[in-house]
Amino acid sequence: MLRRFRRAQPPELTSINYTPEHVALAKTIARRRRIVSAIARSIPLIRLLLVSVGISWLLALPYEGLWKETYVDEHAIQPAQVTMYFDWANVHRADRYLDELERIANATFEERSSYTASTFADAGLSSGNTSHATFAHVAPPRSAGTETILVSANWISRDGGPNLRGVAMLLALGDFLRGQNHWAFDFVLVVGDSYLTGLEDFMRNYHSLFPGVLWTALNIDYPGHSFSHLGLFYEGVNGRLPNQDVVNTVAHVARYAGGSPIRYHDVDADQARSGYLVAAKHLLAHFSFAALGRPSGAHGVLARHRIDAVTLYCSPAEGPHGFHTLGRTLESTLRSYNNLLERLHASYFFYLLPRPDRFIPVGHYLPAAVLLGASITIGGFDCQEPLAGLLWLVPAFVIGYIGWILQTPLVSLVALVLPRPQGNARHSMSALAHLLYGALIPTLAMVNFPQAILLATIGSPGTDIIDSASWRAEGTVVRDR
């Protein structure tokens, strides 16, 4: 911009001096132009190349080469190093609570809530309820009340059935925690109504009820009679993941302190099948939750409040584990959480878990999204009339905004009846749309990788089709002229 204007006159059009630099310069400019035009000609090829590298990177994710071994990064956690006091007497209590719960399983929320509240109160805890959740507050003797750990068990399990054993476990835990003076955190035990709504309702009210900050949480989901594996579900709302230390701590504790093996998403990883397929299954399960932003367990609603949490899902089986294993796992995990002096910040927040004990760090999976995004962006560089294109994009944004207000994507059907642009304006609009979409993919991938991949895979072929169709139309129009 600055180069255009000087006080002096612009150089004379006829005053070319043929020095050797001039010749060299001319060659440089010519070569540069050749390269640029070559690239411009082969943009579709470049796009294809980027897309294929991106997709093959994605397909390479279940391959072991991209993985690293997990480790607990926060030194304070010291998982599975404590003596556990949860024992058969507590299991007996849990069984008694379970009998009571089975009787009131189909009662109204008020009745169930009053039962749980009074059970907690009998254990010496202050309890209360919000409109969709019952809670109890454990204040251990030596805690200052400034930090709190949340443990929840909702009435409905993620299977859709009742989570009675989960609630019984929580009641037994409340009884167990009273009187122990080695806890530095307060505990809030929440029994939320239905699957997610109860816990979400509680979280909305939490800050008016309690002063403690919540750093970590656990959710118990125990639908069946016994369990053979502890499944860990870690995806939150909008694909937010907890700090990886939470997942690794629970995995470590469950194996060494509780004694039960771990699974992610209840995917069976035991059979000695091809590691690639198992990893792909894990990743697909993760994608199926995160791509649409669905939480994979009730802990997901806690992600919005900066709480790192996972759901312990006891996959139903005839298997050997029950309240005892779960109780000890819970106790040891809570003891590890109890050691924390700072909010979890050491380990990764963005990761993919292809298998228990392995993870894929950001740097190893993000380039796939960046390549896909770049392939779309490159398609948008040839924009002749940016202003016209922008004008045609405005209705799209308006529709999107209305759809966001009304919370429905069906509003986009309106786009079918709107007038379409023609010719250069159409091409410019498509180019700008490419640029915008291509900008969206890598930025979204930083926050929610599966969702970005989903949008990229829908968008890429879609835009390619539109592109080629429009170019063909352009070609015919140009030739006709």
Partner: protein, 337 residues
């Protein structure tokens, strides 16, 4: 003139309608649009404390110029400021006036700044009015603009080249306003408003390069780097005035300090984008406008995203937001050159 008048009315109507929705409440606290020096929240706090009879600058949150204490922070004032700025731009531009007004009024940076009731809107209006005025009036308006946010004082040189009288008017108005403010409000305002601009004592994140730099800085080097950063803005004044015609020098200087001032906002970028639109010859020869626009789009998305990632969700790191500000700054710099 009528088409630009229509554009003006459309811009005003758009702003007034959007003020009636809930969008402004979402925007008021965004750091990209308002800094501690320009946010409406601290303005209202300062006015409240003044109404209670105490020194508004003693609270430590109020860094606005004392002139703002008299300003009612209502949406209409900000809308009018934008309208005045657009009208002045029309006056500066010689052709395509409607387009110029539209570029300023519908620039998302300017629009969102106005909705956020960031005083950048008013700063811009006064600055553009100063540029668009002639003779002594421009000097006086430049003095007002310098009072509101210190950096327009760098424009004294090209203004002086443009018209000798503006220099005199500037000196007189500036010292007059300073004296008046000191008489009414005492001495505390200078340290709280200009002092903060010069010494960067409030490190709230914004889209500039300065805050993270001085957050991570050790005490030992602070004054040195403060000097370097402030000097960086000053050194371009003389060469630009020597090399370029005054109106282009003003344009470039505005671009320079919009990017490199201690507390920039996106609204500052809107000011020089609007000025740029007034000179179509310059626009025609922009080297890579599309690239710049694209990167602006990227940073427009990235900045609030990464800011919330850091401060709302707590998963990201301050580095991400910082990197985005780097990109934004670099991009603006490239656009300037």
């Amino acid at each position: 003139m009528t088409s630009s008048g229509l554009v003006l009315i459309a811009g005003v109507v758009l702003r007034l309608t959007l003020f009636a929705t809930s969008i402004p409440a979402l925007l008021e606290r965004r750091p990209e649009l308002s800094t501690p020096l320009t946010s409406v929240r601290s303005l209202k706090e300062g006015q409240f404390i003044l109404a209670q009879g105490s020194d508004p600058y003693a609270g430590g949150v109020f860094h606005h110029s004392p002139l703002y204490l008299l300003l009612p922070a209502v949406p209409l004032v900000y809308t009018l400021a934008d309208a005045v700025a657009a009208a002045t731009l029309c006056k500066i531009a010689k052709e395509r006036k409607a387009l110029v007004a539209a570029v300023y009024l519908f620039n998302p940076y300017a629009l969102l700044s106005c909705l956020a009731r960031s005083t950048t809107t008013i700063d811009n209006a006064v600055l553009i009015a100063a540029i668009g005025a002639a003779g002594p009036l421009s000097g006086a308006m430049l003095a007002v603009a310098s009072h509101l946010s210190l950096y327009p004082v760098l424009l004294v040189a090209p203004f002086a080249v443009r018209s000798r009288w503006s220099l005199l008017a500037f000196a007189v108005s500036f010292s007059g306003m300073t004296a008046l403010n000191t008489v009414i409000f005492g001495h505390s305002w200078m340290r709280a408003s200009w002092g903060v601009i010069l010494t960067v004592s409030d490190l709230t994140p914004n889209v500039g390069m300065w805050w993270y730099f001085f957050t991570e800085m050790f005490e030992h080097f602070r004054s040195f780097f403060l000097g370097v950063f402030q000097l960086h803005n000053v050194i371009y004044v003389v060469p630009l005035c020597l090399r370029l015609e005054p109106h282009i020098a003003i344009l470039v200087l505005v671009a320079v300090f919009s990017t490199w001032k201690s507390y920039p906002t996106l609204g500052d970028a809107a000011a020089w984008a609007g000025l740029l639109a007034c000179y179509p010859d310059v626009v025609k020869h922009l080297r890579h406008p599309l690239f710049t626009l694209t990167v602006h789009l990227y940073t427009f998305i990235l900045l609030p995203l990464l800011h919330s990632l850091w401060l709302l969700t707590g998963t990201g790191n301050a580095n991400f937001f910082y990197a985005a500000t780097m990109v934004h700054g670099l991009n603006s710099s490239l656009a300037v050159t």
